[in-house]
Structure formats: structure tokens, C-alpha cells
């Protein structure tokens, strides 16, 4: 046995105490100093569980059935105490905000070394060192609650580095970062590896991680390793519906697609009566802090509209102002051509269903059924209809087939299911337009796309307006894009038109994805923004046709 491996996992299986099947099955791998390992796989496949096994939370904090061993720097994690492991393995968890425990950035950095009784002078030295290498020196004096999502992520990583771990594990580090911050983080990861740290990165945005040049990839499915090897090989076999791959990969593996129908119809703007929702010169904000500045836009009755923009640009505020959750200080909001001045939130409930970013923020009832009926009861709807209402609402979001779903406590559903329940709850009020805040947050590539497709199929729903950070998702599903920055709408138009101005796109902290490059190139001919598989199929079909044409001409 080569004693040099920094991290060695041998035939590791684990089953959580309450679970009916193992979360990890017979995983074996070795990681040397200086290597970057990318761990990918669909939601629930065991990625976070693997991380817990590496940093010792399994078996020290999570109970369950464990077999096999994890050895870090020559010592089995099961035999080490968590505090000794903390000096070897640094961890950044999935949600950075939840792991910030101090009020100020400096105190947050100091937290680990303080627990290890490192002398204050030494801690101070490390704070400056890590602050500089992590690019957060300018934040040191700030309080943690005013950091943006991206800044919190950087701080969490710096906090993990304060104990100078030999192994660094990162659980979906890109989820909250805009592309600029993501680029900085990946460069840091590469540099740490080059300096001799072994790094494990969990991420399903494979396309985005490539920049850190992972040496190897572990692909997990249902707890078992289905691939472990170099990156190139992985790109050849990976399933583009579960992880997000570069467009070139999708293209290389595409099968010829069907002939495209006529170009997708342009927006129906103005074709059918007054707009569903119109902001007319709206100013709005919180406690004297103005967020929206003279915003004007109108969204039609039967459109799908996506709102994109950097963190804190006012996207959520825009929606909240629309349905009167915050007061506007100037301008007006019109719904179906009628001013909403003087009308309360409750008045608009029949028109708009609003789904908040975090579904658990609204789930409180003892059963799913009670949860769906809370709104209708508040509004005094007819109880005779309730049974039918619950069944149809659940059916529309694909929850009806779940076992005993109506009697389950809502908070015990999985995140994805909670999100769908939140939509069912909104649908229970029979709205004509759905407002969705970040429908794709916290979901893997497959569920995010599936989710939007499901929503579009709901009958009786005229329009969907949604906020998202996933540009590809927005561009594929929306008829129209609103681009926001600093509380202003800086672009408004069909997807291909909005992405044409690359400078403006970058100024909104958005990145040009490989799918966008491809669509920008072929868009004029395909007539709209296509998802990767369709576009790849189309391109392949077209080149075959051309090859055929050439063949005919020759023959």
C-alpha cells in the first residue's frame, strides 16, 4: 500500500439511521496532494454524504451503518477526534450563510483558530495572510449580515483555510456566486492545489468548474461510483440532462434532431387587450432606502417572462412592488389595465399566484391538505369544492402520485417537492398568472428544467413571470427577458435580442455560456433560443443534410 496518499477511501458504504437504503455504496478512491477531484451527480446521489464521510461528521456526528474506511494523512477518521480532523480537513458546506457564526468578518475568520486555542497574535497574522490570498481583505472590518451571497461564500472558504487544512472539501461552491466571483474562486482552488492541498469539489455545474482544471472526476449515481477517472473520459460519457456540460460536448454526442418547425412565434405583445401587469414609473424600496428607480415595463397576458440580473439588483423587489407587498413611493402598477392604488394584496390574489424563493418559509400546516386549503379558507371559498381543489392542485405539480401525500407534514417533503407544493398552494387560489422567484434555486440541472416544463403545461394558467440566476434556463423558457441592474431595467426584449449586446450582458455580472454562444451563432436560422439537446440535434441534422446535398450535387 502506497503510504503517500493524502486521502484514501476504501470500500466505503453508509446508510443513515432513518434511511431505508444506503446513501453511499462501496466507494473507493485515493487522492494525492495537489490533486483536484470533481464530484458530480444528480440531486440526492450522495455527494454531501461523501463529504461528511471525508470530514468526519460521519461517523462522529451522523448515526448510521458504516463500513469501509476513510484514511486522511495515514490516520483513519473513525479513530480521530473531530477536533484533530479539523486540523486536517477544511470544509465549506452547501449553504454559506448558515455556516457564518460570528458577527464580523474578522471574528468569523478567527473562529476556528480560537477554538484550537491558537494565540491571538498568531491568529491576527493568519487573518491577514488568508484575507490576502482569499481576496477578502477589503471585507475584514465588515459585519457578516451585510455580505452578499457571493461574499459570504468567499468568507466561508477563507474561514476553512484558517486552520491550514491539507484536504479542502467544497460542497457546491458556485451556487451563490456570480460569474466574476466564481472565476476568482476557481483560480484560488487551482492555486491551493498547486501549493499541495488536495481539493474535493462537489458541483453539478460541470461546465463552470472546468476552469479549475480538475484532475479527476467521480460521478455518483444512487450512492455508487459510475465513473472515476480523468476529465476527458468523463465528458465522453456524462449525461447532459443531469449535469450541465459545455455545449461542444452536447454537440459532439448529438443525434440528428427533427426538422425544426416554423420559427417559434414572436411574443404576442399587444395582441390581446391590456397588459396583465404594468409598472409605470415605479419607485419603491424599504425604510427610506430606494431600490427601484422609475421602473416601467408591461408584461402581456399570455407571455412567459424571465427577469435576470445580479444579486441585489432589485428583482425580488420588482415582483413585491407588483402585488403590493411593499409600498411604492412614486408611479403606479396596473393590473389588466386597472390601477392597483388603494387595492390590497388580497384583491390581487385571484390574479397572481406568488411563489417565494424559499418554500419552507410559508409551509406551516400539519398536513399537505391543510396547507393547500389555508388560502382558500382565508378567502372564504366554497368548501364543497375543496376535495377537487386539492386533487387538481397536486396533480398539476406531479405530486398526486406520491404516497399518502395529502396527509404528510409539508416540511418533511424533499426540497424539490416542497417547491412544487408551494406552487400547488399558489395554484389552489386559481391564479391566472404565476410569479416565481428563483424556481431553479437548490435544484439540480434535470429537476430545474423539468420543473419549468411542468409549469408551462399547467392548464388554465395564462402566463408565468419568473426571476432566476440561471441564464440558460431563462433564455430557453421565456418569450421575453427583462435585464435588471441597480434597480433599473436595462434591457427588455426577446432572448436573442437581449443577448446580442455582450457588453451589457457582462455588465449585469452575467456570463456568456457555451449554449448562448451557439444560439447567438445559429439563432438567426433556428428562429429562437433552443435548449442544448435540440440545438445540437438541429445542427447535426443540418450538416448531414448539407453533406447529403453535396453528395447529390456530386452524384
Amino acid at each position: 500500500m502506497a503510504a503517500s496518499s493524502l486521502l484514501e477511501i476504501a470500500d466505503l458504504s453508509f446508510q443513515y439511521r432513518r434511511a431505508s437504503q444506503p446513501a453511499l455504496r462501496h466507494i473507493s478512491l485515493r487522492l494525492e496532494a495537489g490533486e483536484v477531484l470533481l464530484v458530480a451527480g444528480p440531486s440526492g446521489c450522495g455527494k454531501s454524504t461523501l463529504i461528511r464521510a471525508i470530514n468526519g461528521l460521519i461517523p462522529h456526528s451522523y448515526r448510521g451503518e458504516l463500513s469501509g474506511r476513510v484514511v486522511v494523512d495515514g490516520r483513519a477518521t473513525a479513530d480521530l477526534r473531530l477536533r484533530d480532523l479539523a486540523l486536517l480537513v477544511g470544509t465549506v458546506l452547501q449553504d454559506p450563510r448558515k455556516q457564518l457564526v460570528a458577527s464580523t468578518v474578522a471574528a468569523e475568520l478567527a473562529f476556528g483558530p480560537e477554538n484550537m486555542a491558537v494565540p491571538p497574535a498568531e491568529i491576527r497574522r493568519r487573518v491577514h495572510e488568508v484575507g490576502a490570498s482569499g481576496g477578502i481583505e477589503h471585507l475584514i472590518e465588515r459585519t457578516t449580515d451585510e455580505l452578499s451571497g457571493g461574499e459570504s461564500q468567499q468568507l466561508a472558504i477563507a474561514g476553512a483555510l484558517m486552520l491550514r487544512p491539507r484536504v479542502l472539501v467544497l460542497d457546491e461552491p458556485l451556487a451563490n456566486l456570480d460569474p466574476v466571483a466564481a472565476h476568482r474562486l476557481l483560480a484560488l482552488v487551482r492555486r491551493l492545489a498547486d501549493e499541495g492541498t488536495a481539493v474535493v469539489v462537489v458541483e453539478h455545474r460541470v461546465e463552470d468548474v472546468l476552469e479549475a482544471r480538475p484532475d479527476r472526476v467521480l460521478y455518483l449515481d444512487d450512492g455508487a461510483a459510475t465513473y472515476l477517472g480523468p476529465l476527458d473520459g468523463f465528458l465522453k460519457i456524462a449525461d447532459p440532462t443531469t449535469v450541465k456540460l459545455p455545449f461542444a460536448v452536447a454537440l459532439a454526442r448529438a443525434v440528428p434532431g427533427a426538422e425544426l418547425l416554423a420559427p417559434a412565434p414572436a411574443t404576442n405583445a399587444g395582441t390581446s387587450g391590456p397588459p396583465r401587469l404594468e409598472w409605470a414609473g415605479v419607485d419603491a424600496g424599504y425604510d427610506g432606502r430606494q431600490v427601484l428607480h422609475a421602473v416601467s415595463a408591461s408584461l402581456q397576458r399570455d407571455e412567459t417572462v424571465a427577469v435576470l440580473g445580479p444579486n441585489g439588483s432589485g428583482k425580488t423587489t420588482l415582483f413585491k412592488a407588483a402585488i403590493g407587498l411593499i409600498n411604492r413611493t412614486a408611479g403606479d402598477v396596473l393590473v389588466d389595465g386597472v390601477s392597483t392604488s388603494g387595492r390590497g394584496v388580497a384583491d390581487l390574489v385571484g390574479t397572481f399566484g406568488y411563489v417565494f424563493q424559499n418554500p419552507s418559509q410559508m409551509l406551516f400546516a400539519r398536513t399537505v391538505r391543510d396547507e393547500i386549503l389555508f388560502g382558500p379558507i382565508n378567502l372564504g371559498r366554497d368548501p364543497a369544492q375543496f376535495d377537487a381543489l386539492v386533487t387538481t392542485s397536486l396533480g398539476r405539480v406531479n405530486l398526486a402520485t406520491e404516497d399518502e401525500i395529502e396527509a404528510r407534514p409539508p416540511l418533511t417533503l424533499s426540497f424539490g417537492q416542497q417547491k412544487r407544493l408551494a406552487i400547488a398552494v399558489a395554484l389552489g387560489l386559481e391564479p391566472r398568472t404565476l410569479l416565481l422567484d428563483e424556481p431553479s434555486a437548490g435544484q439540480d440541472h434535470r429537476s430545474a428544467t423539468a420543473f419549468m416544463t411542468e409549469v408551462e403545461r399547467i392548464e388554465g394558467l395564462e402566463s408565468v413571470y419568473f426571476v432566476t440566476h440561471d441564464a440558460d434556463l431563462a433564455l430557453v423558457h421565456a418569450d421575453r427577458i427583462l435585464l435588471m441592474r441597480d434597480g433599473r431595467i436595462v434591457a427588455d426584449g426577446p432572448p436573442l435580442e437581449v443577448i446580442a449586446d455582450r457588453e451589457r450582458w457582462a455588465a449585469c455580472n452575467l456570463r456568456y455560456t457555451s449554449l448562448m454562444e451557439a444560439n447567438a451563432r445559429w439563432g438567426a436560422q433556428t428562429g429562437g433560443f433552443l435548449p442544448a439537446s435540440e440545438l445540437a440535434g438541429w445542427i447535426v441534422a443540418r450538416s448531414e443534410r448539407e453533406a447529403g446535398d453535396i453528395g447529390q450535387a456530386l452524384g
Binding site: S61, E65, T412
Partner: protein, 192 residues
């Protein structure tokens, strides 16, 4: 090989990381809600009002033990007073009383462990624990007889002890089980 968790001894009084974090959440919530939620005036009385958020104190005690119960009540009320009044020091004994209510409620699961077999029986016990915790914990405000003798027995009884205990008992009796019903199935899921 079966590995049970190591390095954790969870006695009733041990202050684990878990207890620290839960107490901080409970205390912060209690403080915030004291500052935001409306108190509900009981019709026909001038000075009895119900603050539903008081149920947090007894719930945290009941669900996470006497230490958590005490910290949520004591720190939460201190911080809440500091937010609302700018000062929590002039009435520290009220914070202690809140803490003791949580602490006493937190002793019930220890005493009644064998009886609480179903969620229903735990919910009933939780309601009882909330009320008893309140009645007992707030006895502490009688320390005013020493600290502020000019208040007099009658003022403390009719102006403070009775209205507070009525209002808080109602909140504890209703809200403690509601929170328990929401939390228990979830705890099973997290199941560490």
C-alpha cells in the same frame, strides 16, 4: 460494522454545540417577535394580554432541554427588552423568570419520559409543561418585594403576577403543542 455516534454525551444538563445553536436561534426569534408581533388583548380585561411568541420559550425547553429553555427565555427576553426599551437591566428579574419558565418546561420530558409514547401524549404533556413552567417560573418576580418594596404585595399580585401568568399560560398551552406537532415529524427525518 455498526457505528453509533461517538463523543456525545447528552445528559439533561450538558451544553452541546446543538444546545448552543438552538438556544441562540430561539432567543433571537423570541427577541425579534417580541418586537414585531402584536400582543393580543384579552377582551374585558385591561392588562391581560397574550403574546403568542412566549410559547417559543416553553417549546424550546420542552423540545431541547432545560438549558435551552432557560437560555431562550433569559437571553431572548433580555435582548428583546434591549431592542424595545433600550434597556434590559432595570428589570433583569423578568428575564430570569422567563428563563425559569423554559427551564421548568424542559424538565417535563425528563420526568415524564415513560408516559410520552405517542405524539398526542407528548403534545398534551407539552401544553401542561408550558403552563406549569409559566406558573412556577414567574414566581421569581416576587423578588420585587425585596428589590422594589414600594410596589407592594397587591400591585405585584394583581398588576404583574396574575396577568402575566394568565397571558403566558394561554400562549404556552396553545403554541407549545403546535410547534411540537410541526417539529417532531421533521426531527425524525433529520434523525441524527
Amino acid at each position: 460494522m455498526t457505528t453509533m455516534s461517538m463523543g456525545r454525551s447528552e445528559g439533561t444538563w450538558s451544553v452541546t454545540t446543538r444546545v448552543i445553536v438552538y438556544s441562540a436561534i430561539g432567543a433571537a426569534l423570541y427577541a425579534v417577535l417580541n418586537w414585531t408581533l402584536f400582543a393580543i388583548q384579552i377582551p374585558g380585561t385591561q392588562n391581560v394580554s397574550v403574546r403568542p411568541q412566549f410559547g417559543l420559550v416553553t417549546f424550546f425547553g420542552f423540545a431541547f432541554g432545560p438549558v435551552a429553555g432557560f437560555l431562550v427565555g433569559y437571553v431572548g427576553n433580555t435582548v428583546g427588552d434591549q431592542l424595545a426599551f433600550g434597556s434590559a437591566f432595570g428589570s433583569w428579574w423578568w428575564s430570569v423568570a422567563n428563563g425559569l419558565a423554559g427551564l421548568v418546561a424542559g424538565l417535563f420530558p425528563v420526568w415524564m419520559a415513560s408516559r410520552m409514547t405517542t405524539l398526542g401524549s407528548r403534545a398534551v404533556t407539552a401544553a401542561v409543561a408550558g403552563v406549569v413552567g409559566t406558573v412556577v417560573g414567574f414566581l421569581f418576580i416576587w423578588i420585587e418585594l425585596i428589590i422594589q418594596p414600594e410596589l407592594g404585595f397587591n400591585t405585584i399580585l394583581t398588576g404583574e403576577y396574575i396577568p402575566t401568568v394568565i397571558g403566558n399560560s394561554i400562549a404556552a398551552a396553545i403554541v407549545t403543542p403546535i410547534l411540537l406537532y410541526a417539529w417532531e415529524p421533521l426531527r425524525e427525518q433529520l434523525g441524527r
